[in-house]
Symmetry: C2
């Protein structure tokens, strides 16, 4: 039986999970791949920590050089994370002719195009199923299963922390702060949660999916990103009244040459399967021209779900090596020659429907002023909802618009904010309606 030698860089949570799988499931993996996936070395500066996995003498070493410089190592698994040393090691491994498996979305979304070029020059494989959507096989689905399709749109819940918090607000009426605290207590949110709740983790993943979906460069900079900290229980209650829920969605839509790419809290109808993705679960809904609507659903993070995806990449490369094949599937799904420059639709040119909530001091004229502003900017209102009547307190006024242009809506919000009877900046949530399923 052919032996494939594997080196893991970084033995944190996911690295430990991958080591566990390679060691504890070696018979299953040999049986299914026909090769012995041999974990030759694991490099991590901390070799002393108890990891609940047994390494043979000499496997766990402090020094990455023992992987990068070992000519016997076929596959390097980069699980250090971040954009610093992880980038250097990834590029060195590729240049040494090693295939690389990584779960590093921050690295790929920032430097993916450069890394793809290095892999191409070195004629090796680069696999990254675990970078996006955890155990969901979204990268494989894009690169292989949807090969005959043009992707019309993609809407995805890609951050379990945010989805858990929004579920707490929606199902338990928690405030954002209380929901975040619960998430932290349960280990679903970091002590420093901003990468997740500000939407940036989702935008890293969207940059990767967007490239695969549309055959374009990986492009992070032009993605519009908003987080969830502005979402209040009252917004979720209003949404529920209209038959909607609020999710942090990563959205990509194709308009021929231009592509929408945005991450923000989004109102979606309960008839949309994404509305029923609760807690820490993730999902990617894709509307492609031949398949119509499809969805993948699963854990987007966590030790073993992520390790499962990393090992599926290792097995894929091993299956290549057994038949003496490599670079069987292009890294980004399209051959590098055919990757186009990303042309992202500027956010101001977006057309969609909007939910606008203002806290208005109940002045009989305020609604007429607001409608006046919206009317002047060509924004037509589908419905208005006003609750409570106390003369001195601010009462919420909620408006749902018909499809309108983003730059006009932003201008309207600025003008509404300037009204005397509107003490706080209005809350704006974009609405996505979905194709019905039946």
């Amino acid at each position: 039986m052919k032996q494939i030698n594997i080196g893991i860089l970084g033995c944190g949570v996911v690295g430990t999970g991958v080591a566990k799988l390679l060691l504890e499931k070696k018979d299953l993996l040999s049986s299914r791949t026909g090769a012995f996936l041999h974990l030759k070395r694991v490099a991590d500066p901390d070799t002393q920590r108890d990891r609940d996995v047994h390494f043979d003498e000499g496997v766990l070493v402090p020094d990455a050089e023992q992987i990068l410089e070992d000519p016997e190592i076929d596959i390097v698994v980069e699980l250090i994370g971040g954009k610093g040393i992880a980038k250097e090691y990834t590029i060195r491994a590729l240049e040494k002719g090693k295939h690389v498996v990584t779960a590093n979305k921050a690295l790929l979304s920032a430097h993916g195009n450069e890394i793809v070029k290095v892999a191409r020059t070195a004629q090796v494989d680069l696999a990254f199923e675990a970078s996006t959507g955890g155990c969901m096989p979204i990268i494989k689905t894009m690169r292989e299963s949807l090969i005959a399709n043009n992707i019309r749109s993609m809407s995805a819940i890609l951050n379990g922390t945010c989805n858990y918090i929004l579920t707490r607000i929606s199902k338990h009426g928690d405030s954002f702060e209380k929901a975040l605290k619960t998430a932290q207590e349960k280990g679903f949110a970091e002590a420093e949660p901003s990468l997740d709740i500000d939407g940036h983790d989702s935008s890293h993943k969207l940059a990767i999916l967007n490239s695969l979906a549309h055959g374009i460069d990986i492009n992070l900079d032009d993605i519009h990103v908003e987080g969830i900290s502005c979402i209040k229980p009252i917004d979720i209650r209003f949404a529920a009244n209209f038959g909607y829920d609020i999710k942090l969605l990563a959205i990509s839509k194709s308009h021929g040459e231009q592509v929408e790419a945005r991450v923000h809290p989004t109102m979606i109808p309960l008839s949309n399967p994404l509305a029923h993705v609760t807690g820490v679960m993730n999902a990617v809904a894709i509307d492609a021209d031949e398949t119509g609507p499809t969805m993948l659903y699963g854990h987007g993070a966590g030790m073993m779900p992520t390790a499962s995806a990393v090992v599926s990449d290792i097995a894929d490369i091993a299956r290549n090596l057994i038949v003496s094949a490599k670079r069987r599937v292009p890294i980004l799904g399209y051959p590098e020659d055919n990757i186009k420059k990303a042309d992202i639709l500027p956010m101001k040119d977006l057309y969609t429907r909007y939910y606008i909530r203002c806290a208005a001091v109940d002045n009989p004229g305020v609604l007429s002023k607001i409608s006046g502003i919206l009317g002047e900017l060509g924004i037509s209102i589908e419905s208005v909802h006003q609750k409570g009547k106390n003369a001195n307190d601010a009462v919420p006024v909620v408006m749902i618009t018909h499809e309108a242009k983003e730059e006009n809506v932003i201008r309207a919000i600025d003008r509404i904010s300037a009204l005397d009877s509107i003490p706080d900046k209005p809350v704006l949530i974009r609405i996505e309606d979905n194709n019905t399923q039946e």
Copy 2:
């Protein structure tokens, strides 16, 4: 650019869809695979019918021999369907050293083990993504993405006709007969719908998935199958009262050596994502030991969704041929040497919860008689619901049991049916509770 020659056997709905994709998307497919996927020949006895696709002179022929005997053809796509001539042609194509792509679940579920052996002897690939779950990449997910996982359980909606009918009953209160008629009018049900509504189409697909999930022989005969024609609006209303919906599920669960395999109407809680799969949509929920719960969702049938899956198989084989690889992934996910004989748990040994509805002539003693029977057979009742009080009409009595053994429940139903105050055979629906997601 390498040219891969393709022959399609059978140009019905799906065959036409595949031809359309290969012809109309040839640039996309060449760009993504790096090969020219050349539709060399299509064989169908009816060469005259208008198919809304343009074939060059000599491509559409009446005679399959022009594909089977053509040494230039690399990949044969079998889309004739059924177990007759399709079996003969599939085996001949494999024996001639051609790779075969098929969407034929009836053939694979009945003769798959024999066909896999022929492919193995001939050292060619056999791909069948479109046989199960339409455009959902469930076969690829099982064979490749879940490679490091043991599948604990699988619950799937695999028949769009049944799901459409149940959705009509659930959302519109239609009777089964009316819902079936609507499905037929919309083209979602055949004029002769029994293969679908009796559950046999789902069992064909479950036989295939079961084999991939557990590394066992394809086994259709031991799958317990019930259809949906017994489902009444009243059952769906009761289910809704308890926070459940009723779906036709194909269920597989692993108990070490033994595997459950059953297709029947099933009550599932609304917190289960499958409860929100409506209309003709299909979904497969998998609980694997490393990933935890996952789900794929999409169209399980239809011309272009199915053709999309067939073409993904063609592209997969083409990508193998370009790098001079074949049989890169074992046909059933496990090497043929490691496929175990299927050991299906006898239905009588199943333990689950049950919904039992009797129409009882409202005799004050009837409930005590029923509970007596259940008690004697060790079946404990979680709750009882009785509606209406007219002394002479039959009123529905609904019971939900705790987990009980199937053979005892069947015995209880027989004894309850024999009571004077129970005019009709009670309705029995199995309940599946799911692991919560949060």
